[in-house]
């Protein structure tokens, strides 16, 4: 989770852009998913129109039952459940990526909309700022 001081000087410009966060990496192996989630929360604090998508290994980020005690790394993934509190409600998972990994929506720790590749293509095409990747 970001520090409180990250929210200082909240954006007053009134402009709302569509921010897309693309999660394509598995959690814990690298820090990218953790720090990308921090970017999501900040954009939400700026009252931007935030969409978060999970595809490829990114779907593993929201796998239920992650227990990082044994590897000594802080488990950031419960923070995905806080997205709703930040009014980040547009979470999409690509069906093809889930199926390729033997997962279903039941395996995920947050409510998401499972979409086809064609649907995801349309969602991802209509954005102003794309982060993650």
């Amino acid at each position: 989770m970001p520090d409180e001081n990250e929210f200082e000087g909240e954006y007053q410009g009134g402009t709302v852009k569509r921010f897309l966060y693309v999660n394509r990496r598995a959690p814990h192996g690298t820090i990218y998913p953790h720090e990308t989630l921090e970017m999501v929360l900040i954009a939400a604090a700026f009252d931007q129109d935030v969409t978060v998508v999970f595809l490829d290994d990114g779907v593993y980020q929201i796998k239920k039952d992650q227990d990082t005690k044994g590897i000594g790394i802080k488990n950031f993934t419960p923070a995905f459940r806080a997205l709703d509190d930040y009014d980040v409600e547009k979470l999409y998972v690509e069906k093809e990526s889930l199926e390729a990994r033997g997962l279903t929506a039941e395996d995920l720790l947050v409510p998401v909309e499972v979409v086809s590749t064609e649907e995801l293509r349309e969602i991802m095409a209509e954005q102003d700022v794309v982060l993650g990747g």
């Binding site: 929210f7 200082e8 820090i31 900040i42 931007q48």
Partner: protein
């Protein structure tokens, strides 16, 4: 046009910062405005003035510093990513400053485009 830049990798392990630098240089030469270059993840290491590459190789910390100075660029290092990696104000090369991740979002809002360089 206003082009915001995000650099997600340090100066040596990946080519990302090199590409970002060349892109920024080309954009400035073409008359575009670069409102901010934001350094996130290991990208914060681009600001480390103690970096000393071999003399026959490029020195990206110095290159960013000099480009920043020449064009008055706002080179911003993310505070949370910097603290994790031991990057403090005392280590900052000329022209860099440490600030919040909100500055990246602000760049995304205010620039016409945000271009991401990472790994």
């Amino acid at each position: 046009m206003k082009l915001g830049i995000l650099v997600n990798e340090g100066p040596f392990t990946h080519q990302a910062s090199d590409t970002a630098y060349r892109f920024t240089e080309a954009a400035l030469a073409k008359g575009h405005e670069i409102p901010r270059v934001f350094f996130y993840h290991d990208g914060v290491n681009n600001a480390n003035k103690l970096s000393e590459p071999q003399s026959d190789d490029r020195n990206l910390v110095k290159l960013w510093s000099e480009l920043g100075e020449k064009h008055g660029l706002d080179l911003v290092v993310c505070v949370a990513a910097a603290l994790r990696r031991g990057m403090t104000d005392e280590l900052l090369a000329a022209g860099f400053r440490i600030s919040g991740l909100g500055q990246l979002i602000e760049t995304g809002i205010e620039a016409d485009r945000l271009v991401v360089f990472g790994d």
